[in-house]
Subunit: 343 residues, 4 copies
């Protein structure tokens, strides 16, 4: 039996979340999100975000949410600015371009973060009306590389965007991990007020599926439901999303799970360092990136599941370990001891 | 407490289906459908369809499946021919047009069926290269109006399509209801071999969500996964779909549920007739359509949930009652007796 | 030698227009419409439209202009309302749907006109957020059937659209024919102020190609150039468009040509009636529609070029004759006498 | 009066081309390319390309032709591989992405050429079905940077593409300049057989507008006309394109013009070198790229029109001079002497 560190969507829902779904299963509820659980979940999300007027919409998965929200915000001739390492750019089979928009990648360094300094030159070049018009900046919190925007960084980016007529959209697939990270100095309401739209990821933190898109300014969200339907993103049995998100925010379950995953990742990361492993980046969230010699990968495959992230050099690969609500201290220690033994 | 006859997606999963999901919840499985349950479910579907080579792909909802499959089959300048009452045309917020394709509606009568005679004149007109090229015919089995294509009808349409270079796609949101209808004379394998692609609807017959797209000729399905991903239709925790569909086809659960729903609908339809109600169409499946005087609707609202279907004339409305696996004989009789009392 | 009445784009440019193009041919001018002729032509168009602030943009052909302008005005989930006989719906290979928008056809009668009464019920149905949102009404002036909206009709439609949040777009491929028709009671400035965007068609009235899109409110036209470029609709040698449109509006050439075409059409239409022909509609512009027995078509083919318009009944066809700036009185009389002789 | 070296579309048509258009202006011809001139021009192009079966289609401009042809060749989930400096990527306002496809840029060096070595690693990564599938390679001949693929280079790329299931598309906006360059060792038929589709650019070499798309294998071109119409790219008065292209290939006019432009560019390039200017690349075609100190640009603006190409470093800019059929030896010498004087 191998240790499972490949990703944070290898397990189903947290037992409390699943229990909530089972409880209402045969109750009989209106479809398409017109049920009371969805209404309650939306209220609860508005409350924890400190955005009493926000539009909240549930979608099914991350790619779908990114693409639907960004295409909703843009005019046809506008483009999304995105880190070259961003999920929207690299990992979504052109799902965003399928909506007719170009991505303008900026080169983000090893921390995967976008800064005003990266975007400014691009804005200047794109004043030329023969080029697409940058219409929004897409970021992830936490980033693809496990890092977290600080309050200062996000404030600077937010102000830059607002001064330049750009929307700021945040992919929150791992928002829980970001907000409970030791590196974090942002509250959820602070975060919510700095961006124009973001989502609270369920799939990677305790639900079977489902992402909660939040658009703090409801005027900006006008007709979003039609866009969601047009993108095939409306669930018929929408109350399942509502019930899952309600249970996520009962007793802080969402944040407890995320904090636990971060702790397990830190334990793993520290353990790897103690074993002399080289880290690719120092990650404060639930993804751990290590550089391994290619000759060691076969042995690794024997003891655990992980993900090949990218090539490091001709003889080394960056690999990724991910933890989640289900990862136990015993598994982390078991993996570390197996890795120690195999040296 | 009102009787719930509004639609067949008011309840969650059949208890056996939900139980199967709960059982594997914390097992740890690969994502994106690369798990053994999904593999087993695909095999099982190939088996019951009599298509050992078929490509089987799970998607999340009906609109998404229709749009993804039809856009996959067409070239950019090709159009889908569809009954004017078809779901693709009327009820999907232009989700299909969002992929860049035109719908060419044909006027289907009260039974909602498309025939070669309806399509032939359109083909003739569209030989003109200044017009879109008809590329596929979209039908539903059962139709939007609750009727069922007979073997003779479907064979004629299939032969017509094949002779004219058109794909034949069947929306099977209610395929279970069709195949277990008293009006049906088609086996699932016969059905599968007459069309080029179809889906077995889960959402409307016992799952929380999920549709199984079947493309009998695997060569036609080449690269479908990339199209699915591009459309935001790939579930991260794909095994949940696999597990649900596996349990659907254990002990014929799928067909038992559908037959039960049909029986409840027949009981309701007969009861309404006995009460002197006028039917809009005589439906052999799980949707019952009745014509009611508008003055009676307020009273109806008191006793049950149903759907306004369309206007019949200035003083009457067509309404729809739908049954499902969860509908009980007691509820049907209770509704009928409430309706009888309220006359 | 046959008489040419097939359409109004069988001849090149009016000699004065072509002469103007030749004159500047080797002058050396900036590309993409950044030249002084284009600037002057825009000013002249603003002047004759009585819209001193209007945005004016040159595009190349009718389909391109319709599609670019309508897609520019709509949000992704919005649809264009259009007469079922409208050019946007029937004759453009799904070019509009290719931009991701649905067309909602309304049944216009033999005069091809859209009225508030036709659109209102559709608006009511489409309040349902599960359906596309009507975003604009597309009309043609003159219509596909040769008729002309009166001031009263257009005012009613305009007021209806403004009261209901719909843009009103007018395809002006034959705007010259409309404005110089005996049926017309609208000035160009009146027309311009009743719609949100329209184009002055060059191709069908004296240029080699080119349509002048006018958006009276410049705020509505923001970023249109980027949209035009995105649609592949920007000419490199844009001054050719500018020069042609400048010469169109010198000495009223545009209106003189259109009036001449209308006069020739009226002469033809009256002549046909005198010969006992049945008209399909009484046309006040440069298109003449007649009903002919199918057995007479071979004979007709001998003497002239015309267009099959649609089937009238099993034994008759509606055919169309079109006149243009180049049609002479001798040709009309020659055709009529040939038709008289062949009876 | 300044010297005009800004681009090769500053002048209209070559006098012989314009004369041909004038000659047929009032002749009366069928629309949409169904005329005899278009047929003859297509035959002539098939002949000079040595592709007797090729499909030849006329389009209006470069962006339109690139986008229409590439979108025609690709399936929805496929992407175009393109040099990062390629026109499709940088200069077309997302016109290609507007068709729903992603561009996969490869880093081409200063010569702007794509090689198999650049594409191979990308193919390897994109075997992953979670990523877009590379479907074609887009190149320009001559490149954006004025260079020319040699026979050896193009053969290697062609063989690589064919071995890997990729189409090879060549943007031939400046194909004339390439084929008449001193660096060229390819005949037009050799070139045509190495690519799957390409266009012969008219706009930048002697016509008012118009590009001739050639698809050597007619089976690959099936239904292209419908795609062209769908993209708004069909000219109503299509014979104008036919007439212009007929005259281009009479007496080798096309190649004579291109050779002249190249000679003028070489004269200018040599002259600049003699004046001590630094070239950015050594160009063998009609574009000349020089590096100038920013402080000299104001002076340059006084004497000539040119284009800012890109930033070279903080104090220098790369600028571009372009020659065409109309550029005279006197102008080149005049410019050089003005530049010499202003040192």
């Amino acid at each position: 039996m191998k240790f499972l560190f490949r990703n944070d969507y290898s397990f189903g829902a947290h037992p409390k979340v699943l229990e909530a779904v089972c409880k209402v299963n045969l109750e009989g509820n209106p479809g398409y999100g017109d049920d009371r659980y969805t209404a309650m979940a939306k209220d609860r999300i508005r409350e924890i975000c400190g955005c009493p007027e926000a539009a909240v919409e549930f979608l099914i998965g991350g790619t779908q949410t990114n693409v639907t929200a960004c295409a909703f915000l843009l005019k046809p001739w506008e483009a999304a600015v995105c880190a070259d390492s961003g999920h929207l750019n690299g990992h979504e089979v052109g799902a965003f371009e399928a909506t007719g928009h170009k991505i303008l990648p900026v080169h983000a360094g090893g921390d995967g973060k976008v800064s005003p300094e990266m975007v400014a030159p691009l804005l200047k070049v794109h004043q030329d009306p023969h080029l697409t018009k940058p219409g929004l900046v897409y970021i992830s919190q936490a980033t693809e590389n496990g890092t977290v925007y600080t309050k200062a960084e996000l404030t600077a980016l937010s102000e830059f965007c607002r001064a330049n007529g750009l929307y700021l959209f945040a992919d929150g697939a791992r928002l829980g991990a970001a907000l409970t990270s030791d590196s974090n100095d942002l509250t959820l309401p602070e975060f919510a007020h700095l961006v124009d739209a973001f989502y609270i990821g369920g799939t990677k933190n305790g639900t079977m599926f489902g992402e909660a898109l939040v658009i703090p300014d409801p005027a900006l969200a006008k007709d979003f439901f039609r866009m969601k339907k047009r993108m095939g993103a409306v669930m018929e049995k929408g109350w399942i999303q509502g019930v899952m998100f309600l249970s996520l925010f009962e007793d802080d379950l969402y944040f407890k799970m995320a904090r636990h995953a971060n702790e397990m990742a830190a334990r793993l990361q520290n353990g790897l360092k103690a074993l002399g492993w080289q880290l690719w980046v120092e990650s404060p969230t639930n993804q751990v990136f290590a550089v391994v010699h290619n000759s060691r990968k076969a042995g690794l495959d024997e003891v655990c599941q992980y993900e090949d992230w990218c090539s490091y050099d001709e003889t080394h690969t960056v690999i990724r370990f991910v933890t989640c609500f289900q990862t136990s201290r015993e598994e982390v220690d078991g993996l570390l001891s197996a890795l120690g033994a195999s040296r």
